[in-house]
Each structure stands twice: as structure tokens, then as C-alpha cells.
Amino acid sequence: MTDGTESQIPSFHRKGFRFDLFRLFTWVASAATVATLVFIAASILVQAWPAIARFGLGFFTTVAWKTSDPENYGVLPYLVGTAISSLIALLLALPLGVLISIFLSENFLALPLRNTVRFVVELLAAIPSVIYGLWGIAVVIPIVQRIGGPIAGALGFLPLFQGPSSGNSMLTASLVLALMVLPTITAISRTALVAVPGQLREGSYAIGATRWETIFGVLLPTAAPGIVAATILAFGRAMGETMAVAMLIGNSPRLTWSLLSPAGTLASLIANKFGEAEDLQVSALLYAAFALMLFTLLVNVLGELVLRRAQKSISGLR
């Protein structure tokens, strides 16, 4: 209780039945919050156990998810699909997100205009995933259908752009995913940029640097750890995004490198197959869910740790 900022509380305030009981309540709630995560992992693990015992780690290196073969399951294409869709989404959203966070932390335009942009980006984060899916079906799929053919024609010699092209594809899902992780990147990068001490900026201006020389030479390098954390956390979000991806990616069980053909992710696999699954397939899907949970937890822990280090290194500059 030696906070430094808090005043010393006289000792008689620590006694009394009501006080202790309420404190106990809050303690129990806190313990329950911490236990939630363990409980989630354990309950999924228990239901997934038949599949884990049967397939082991080979589950992640096998291509097998057919209704005609209900005894054999493997998630390699979905694992690859999760990684690729998240990577492309980040590749698109990172430059855009950092540019927006610079826009929000600099004074190019009057504050009300900047606040409008900020509000719009925050609203992007609040729109339900399923509405992105509906919008993607109405807007993004027709666009990809129109440009997919020419792209496959021009760049078809690359395995990445091999035809035939389809509206429901890796590209469609990644485009919408990029839009969905943009708010995460923008919010965290903006916090990192705003936290850069003013003296650094002033020092840079004082030796004659232009605004953008200051941004590229001083502000971005100082805020870099925070931006890295934003990228990692956004990657975690992209990996677990379910509904929009399930509605747009086409859910193909084949392993393909082409961005223009249907693919699948771990989350979209669960969303699509769980409804009609029985027996071993339920267990196999829960195994996939457990793996997805472990991956996102890993990415999120890493992101939080980097974010913490970033905040520490910034506060050291003050």
C-alpha cells in the first residue's frame, strides 16, 4: 500500500466486517477473471482430446477435411490460409495505419477534422464482423471478380496469381481483413507517436529539419517499438477473425498458393463445418479451435510484452 501518491489510511479503517467482506468479494471476482482463461483452455482441451490423441501433431501437417473421409482430419491448408490472409492484411493495413496515426498526431488539419477521422476509424472497429461480411459480398467480391481475370492474365506466371480467379478468394478476405485490423494499428501507433517527448521534435526542428525529416528521422524511430507492438496485436486479431472471413474466403480445403482462388482459415473452417459436424469431426474442430487459441494467445502475449517494453523505453526518454 505504499503508492506514494496515496495518503496513509489510518489503521482503524482497515477493520470492520463490511469492509472485509466487500474486499473478499472483489478478490473472488479478480480470481475468477484470472481463472476464466485457464477454464476456457481446459474445457476446450477436454472436448478436443479424442482428436488430439488420435492425430497428434500430424494434424497440422496433413491435408484432409472431406465429408467422404470422416475418419481422417488435418488442418495444413487452413493453417497456411490463416498465416497468409493475416500477413496480406497486415501488409496492406500497416502502411495505411501508420500514415493515419501520423495524420492524427500531427497538425496538418484543424482538430475537429482530425477528430472526425479518428472517430471514423474507431467506428470501423465497432462495426460487427458479420456486417463486413455482408458488405464484402455486395462490394468487394464484384470488384475482385472484375479485376481478378486481368490480374491472372497478366501475372498468371507467378504461382501467387494463378487463375482461374474467383470472387470468393484469399484476396477478397485479406482486403476486408486489412480494413478490420486498421483501427488496431492506428490506435496503438497513435498512442506511441503522441508519447514521443516534445523536446525530441523541437530539437529536430531546431537543427533545421523539415516536418517529414523529423517524422522519419526522429518520431517514427522513437515510436517504433509501439508500432511493432501494434503490428503484432493486429496480427493476432486478423488470425482469429471469423465471420467476415468465413463469408468471403470460399472455404476450400485445398492447399493453394494462388490468392485468386478460394482458401480457408482455422476460424472459417470452424464456422463452416461445426454446424453439421458429428462425433470425431466435432472433436477435430475443437482441436483446431484449441490450436487457434494457443496461437492467438502466443501472439497477444508477445504483443503485450513488446508494448510494455515500448512504454518503458519511451518513459525513459522524458
Binding site: 460487427p128 458479420v130 456486417i131
Partner: protein
């Protein structure tokens, strides 16, 4: 910029004296243009989403759409009645579970043992829970409640949504409590109040608007989630008669109807989207007003 606050942000006005300077200033202008352009570029998808949701959704937005059961594929008419009922019920259950848990935890980590291991663990776990894919919340409720009760139900859906709502409520409540000035607590202690009295009579009343905002954000987020209720609650074409039977939700209706080849059902999905988007926008505007006011104070 007239506000003094942004003085440190004012870029110097440089005069070009050599060709190299002109190049530097040109480059400077180029990046400013790119940056402003990119920022306004992101407004386009959002406006496109809002425009489509409103223009496609408003057609069926009549009072009766809120009170009628959804139509069968191929039929006309009908509404979102049971979906709204189901969403309201499940979000209610979720808040009933998550709000006490989240607010009590927030009180513990901001009023009692701030620096304890448990408080650090709560903060860390809450951050991790915000990053857990929503489908995992659904799998959790399936593995526990659906498996043991052998039926999809609003209870199972509500529990899945509670996991999702918990971190939002907890973290905003913590911010709300931390925003209460220390002087208020000290004045309360100075008058001889106990810690319990201080928390309930001084700190909580001051923090209530911000905590309520957190609750509203959690409601808005939970109402729009499909993945947690997809295999734990949905779907149903009828009104609810008990807590232990399959329950329809707005978000799941959007997902299912959006895939049908029937224009009427797709239009109904857009109408459901409009209802959700209005809910989300209203809560975000409120949150902006409440938290914005706090910061200015």
C-alpha cells in the same frame, strides 16, 4: 492553429535557399499530401458500408419488422422480432454475468491491492481476453454448457458473450476508477469515512458515467457478435418460451440470410445490419461524449 496546446507540434516554416532545399521542401509537401490523402481514403470504405446498410436496410424498416417472426426462404413479409428478442436476452445474460465480475475486479485492482500479483494478473489476463477470437468464446460455451445440457440455449449463448464482454467492462471500469481524483478519496478519509464508505459513497458515484459507458460499449459489441452464438444458441424461427431452447440472434440472422439466394431475405439481413449499426454508432458517440468530457476536465 490558435490553440497553444499544439505549439510544440508546429512545424517550422522553412525558406528554400538552394536547389537542395527546394527538393527537401518538395519531398515534405509530397509526404503531407500522401498522409492526408491516405487518411481520407479510409473514410471511403466506411461511408460505403454506412451507405449500403442504410440504403438497403431502410426499405423494410417499418414498425412491424420489429414484432414479426422471420419469413421462411422464398416467402415475403416477416420481420426480426424473435432475433431482437433473442439478442436482447442473450446480451442481458452476458451483462448480468460480466458486469458484476468486471466491475468488482476493477475495484479490486484500482482501489484495493493495486500492486499485488493478482492485480497484475487480472490486468494481463483482461488484455489477453480482448484478443481471444470470438469463435473461441463460442467453442468454450459449447464445450461446457451445450455438451452438458445437450441443447443449444440462450444461457449458452449468453455465457459465450459474457466472456467477450468481460474484458471491455473490466478495463473501462478500471480507467473510470483511476480517473477519480485522489483528493476526493483523501477528503473522504479525512472526514473519517471507512474504505468501504469511500468506495461506495465517493469513488463509485463519481465513476458511474464512465462505467456505464463501458457497459454500453460491451452491449454494442456483444449484440453484433455472431461467432459466439453460432453453435451455442442459434437458430430458431419462433418466439422464445424458455431459457433452455435454441435462440435466434440478429447477428446470426444476418449471416444466414445474407447467404440465401432470395432478395427478400438478403434485404432483411441489411435491415438487421441497420439496427445493429445504429446501436453501435449511438454507443460510440455517447462514449466519445462521456470520456471526452472527462479528459477536458
Amino acid at each position: 492553429m490558435s490553440t497553444a496546446v499544439f505549439n510544440q507540434n508546429l512545424a517550422p516554416e522553412l525558406k528554400a535557399q538552394t536547389a537542395r532545399d527546394r527538393l527537401r521542401l518538395g519531398r515534405n509537401f509530397f509526404w503531407t499530401a500522401i498522409c492526408v490523402g491516405a487518411s481520407f481514403l479510409t473514410l471511403i470504405p466506411l461511408f460505403s458500408i454506412i451507405f449500403l446498410v442504410v440504403s438497403n436496410g431502410v426499405g423494410l424498416l417499418t414498425p412491424s419488422v420489429f414484432f414479426e417472426l422471420p419469413p421462411a426462404p422464398g416467402q415475403e413479409g416477416g420481420g426480426l422480432g424473435n432475433a431482437i428478442q433473442g439478442t436482447a436476452l442473450m446480451v442481458g445474460i452476458a451483462i448480468l454475468i460480466a458486469a458484476p465480475l468486471g466491475i468488482l475486479s476493477a475495484i479490486y485492482i484500482s482501489e484495493y491491492d493495486k500492486r499485488s500479483m493478482l492485480a497484475a494478473a487480472v490486468r494481463f489476463i483482461a488484455k489477453l481476453l480482448t484478443g481471444i477470437p470470438s469463435i473461441i468464446c463460442g467453442m468454450f460455451a459449447f464445450a461446457t454448457i451445450v455438451v452438458s445440457t445437450h441443447t443449444k440455449s440462450s444461457i449458452a449463448g449468453g455465457v459465450a458473450l459474457a466472456v467477450l464482454a468481460l474484458p471491455t467492462i473490466l478495463l473501462t471500469a478500471e480507467q473510470a476508477l483511476l480517473g477519480v481524483p485522489h483528493a476526493l478519496r483523501e477528503a473522504s478519509y479525512g472526514m473519517g469515512a471507512t474504505k468501504f464508505q469511500t468506495i461506495f459513497r465517493v469513488v463509485l458515484p463519481e465513476a458511474v458515467p464512465a462505467i456505464m459507458t463501458g457497459l454500453m460499449l460491451a452491449v454494442a459489441r456483444a449484440a453484433g457478435e455472431t461467432a459466439p452464438v453460432l453453435f451455442t444458441a442459434t437458430s430458431s424461427a419462433y418466439w422464445l418460451s424458455s431459457l433452455m431452447e435454441p435462440t435466434q440472434s440478429l447477428a446470426e440472422l444476418i449471416y444466414r440470410f445474407g447467404k440465401y439466394p432470395y432478395p427478400h431475405l438478403i434485404q432483411l439481413a441489411w435491415t438487421a445490419s441497420l439496427v445493429l449499426v445504429v446501436l453501435v454508432t449511438l454507443t460510440n458517440v455517447t462514449a466519445q461524449l462521456v470520456f471526452g468530457k472527462r479528459k477536458r476536465r
